[in-house]
Amino acid sequence: MAALLEVQGLSVHFGGLAAVKNVTFNLEQGERLGMIGPNGAGKTTLFNLLTGQLKPTSGKVVFKGQDITHKAVYARTQLGMARSFQITSLFPNETVMTNALIALQGTRGGRYRIWGAFIRDRGLQSVAQEMLESIDLWDKREEVVVSLAYGEQRKLEMGLSLASEPELLLLDEPSCGLTPTESADITERIRALGKKITVLMIAHDMDLVFGVAERIILLHFGEISVEGTCDEVRANQTVKDIYMGSHKASTAGG
């Protein structure tokens, strides 16, 4: 059976610099793939290539058997791909409820309706209620997003990415800036996502990575340096040299 996501020789150059160089990997349906690497290794850039925010200089991205290399961002979401952002990307001046409603509407018919009152759409409201309750933000639904605590915003961030009921979820540092308790909570939620959602996750938090991923890729200077299962990667000397060393440095620096 063809893989859900096939990345072939993906590269992008900025001026003379290759931010992502000849990246090739596959992602099978239901897999959990973790992407690690030092700062600046090109992980978010790779995500931007996969979601379409950036166009590659060469290479191919095939999703569900379709070549999506040059497809627009919104078209990929409609196909079943979704992402969360490392730097929280919500609708800061709207309420939590409105954020949820807007996110849910994105992939449902009716998003071009010009007459009915949006915030009183019963169908959307009940779905939004379920979504917000599951991330424990239902009580805060009338609060404006800017007034939420950072941890709550990160939960909403992930909630919004799931709103389109994606088949492939790209998580960019989901536990970025969270306390250990909050990180553990996020880890549990990702683990509980079920086999219908395939996950590709960028993370620096090794507990999160090993807790969620079955397979891990190490990205270094834009290239895939190491690829393997959790145990293989844990034992790999290159990983220890490249990543664990700089990982210690980054946790020390905060």
């Binding site: 979601t51 925010q53 627009a72 961002v73 919104y74 979401t77 409609q78 979704a82 992402r83 952002f85 990307s89 919500l90 609708f91 800061p92 001046n93 709207e94 409105t98 409603l101 807007i102 996110a103 509407q105 994105g106 992939t107 449902r108 009716g110 998003r111 071009y112 309706r113 010009i114 007459w115 009915g116 009152a117 949006f118 915030i119 009183r120 759409d121 019963r122 169908g123 959307l124 409201q125 009940s126 779905v127 209620q129 379920e130 979504m131 309750e133 599951s134 991330i135 919004l160 990415s161 799931l162 709103a163 389109s164 009921e165 939620r189 509980a192 996502l193 079920g194 219908k196 959602i197």
Partner: protein, 357 residues
């Protein structure tokens, strides 16, 4: 509601089924009282406007007619600026174009029926918007914060360009002196329109348009537009074709601007090329900013103020209106950038709801 359900299951599969069979869950219901409270100010103003002509001299009635026309002009522009975050500096082009099309249809095209004329004005402004929108949005960039400058300048240039076209197409438009002699509308009914009945016609058209626009900005489409304003990148990631929303909203705003322009043409009987240009665009921006872009009725307040001040200027310091306008602009932008509407809205909530905004 169930509490110990694992998060995952709520998202996958069940969502869609639930949405279809959704029982009314504990969400906001608008009862009659809340509805009345929300619409009360608008109803009161409507009633006042209906009564107005019987109690004020005719020059005030005329002034209020002009205020209503510019209120529509401002609200139409605010679809783009306040809701979409799209800085369009060529909106006057649609206003003036609508007025010119209206006049040309009557004088050269023999289309004297008001309703047919209005429909044609809407069609032609839609075509103009569709045509200009394509190159204009080429220079937009994702998210207005990135590159508003180019879009702003290009729409500005388009407006000025149309002014030059109007100046040269002398046979159609009357050239730089403009087109005059546009008569009051012929409704196709056995009544002749004079300034008194014209007031009510404008009230009707403007009220209907404002109602329609209100529905639009509060609809699914409208909230998508707001989302694009707030965070276009995220909207794209959520599956929205943001270009399409921006492009269509540009056309829609242009249509309503054109309607206001047609009413303006009937009002004054005259159209000049400058009606499509930078000065008029600046006026509509002043109207929107002064009244508050973040409040639906803001531009209405702005229109009342600006048209009022313009009238006073014409009485006391004729010929110096551009100076007065510049002073007004400076004061608004430097001192009360959020606009007067927000202040009034806060006041309203304090007085009538008894709680701080």
């Amino acid at each position: 509601m169930a509490t110990q359900v694992r998060p995952a299951e709520l998202f996958v599969g069940r969502l869609m089924r639930k949405a279809v069979a959704a029982p009314p869950v504990a969400v906001e219901r608008r009862d009659a009282a809340a509805l009345l409270k929300a619409w009360l100010p608008a109803v009161v103003i409507l009633l006042l406007l209906l009564v107005l002509p019987s109690v004020v001299p005719s020059y005030i009635q005329s002034l209020v007619t002009k205020m209503m026309i510019f209120a529509l002009f401002g609200v139409s522009m605010n679809i783009l600026w306040g809701y979409g975050g799209i800085p369009t500096f060529g909106h006057a082009a649609y206003f003036g174009f609508g007025g010119y099309v209206c006049g040309i249809l009557i004088i050269h095209g023999g289309v004297s029926n008001f309703w047919l004329n209005l429909v044609l004005v809407m069609v032609f402004t839609a075509l103009l918007g569709a045509g200009l929108g394509i190159p204009a949005f080429r220079v937009y960039g994702v998210g207005a914060s990135d590159n508003p400058i180019y879009f702003l300048l290009v729409t500005l240039a388009f407006g000025e360009l149309l002014v030059r076209v109007a100046i040269s197409a002398r046979s159609l438009t009357g050239g730089s002196t403009g087109m005059s002699g546009i008569p009051y509308p012929d409704l196709g009914l056995p009544i002749t329109i004079n300034s008194h009945s014209f007031y009510f016609l404008v009230l009707l058209i403007v009220a209907v348009c404002l109602f329609v626009i209100h529905r639009l900005v509060n609809s699914h489409y409208g909230y998508a537009l707001r989302g694009i304003h707030d965070n276009e990148r995220r909207m794209q990631a959520l599956g929205y074709n943001t270009w399409l929303y921006k492009y269509t909203s540009y056309i829609i705003a242009g249509i309503f601007g054109g309607v206001a322009g047609a009413l303006f043409a009937y009002f004054g009987g005259v159209m000049v090329p400058g009606n499509m240009g930078m000065a008029m665009t600046d006026i509509v921006f002043l109207i929107v900013i002064l009244g508050s872009a973040s409040v639906y009725f803001g531009p209405v307040i702005g229109a009342v103020l600006v048209v009022g001040v313009e009238y006073l200027a014409s009485v006391y310091v004729p010929e110096r209106w551009p100076l007065i306008m510049a002073i007004l602009i400076v004061v608004v932008i430097m001192v009360i950038p959020q606009g007067v509407g927000v202040l009034l809205f806060d006041l309203w909530r304090r007085v009538f709801r008894g709680r701080a905004a």
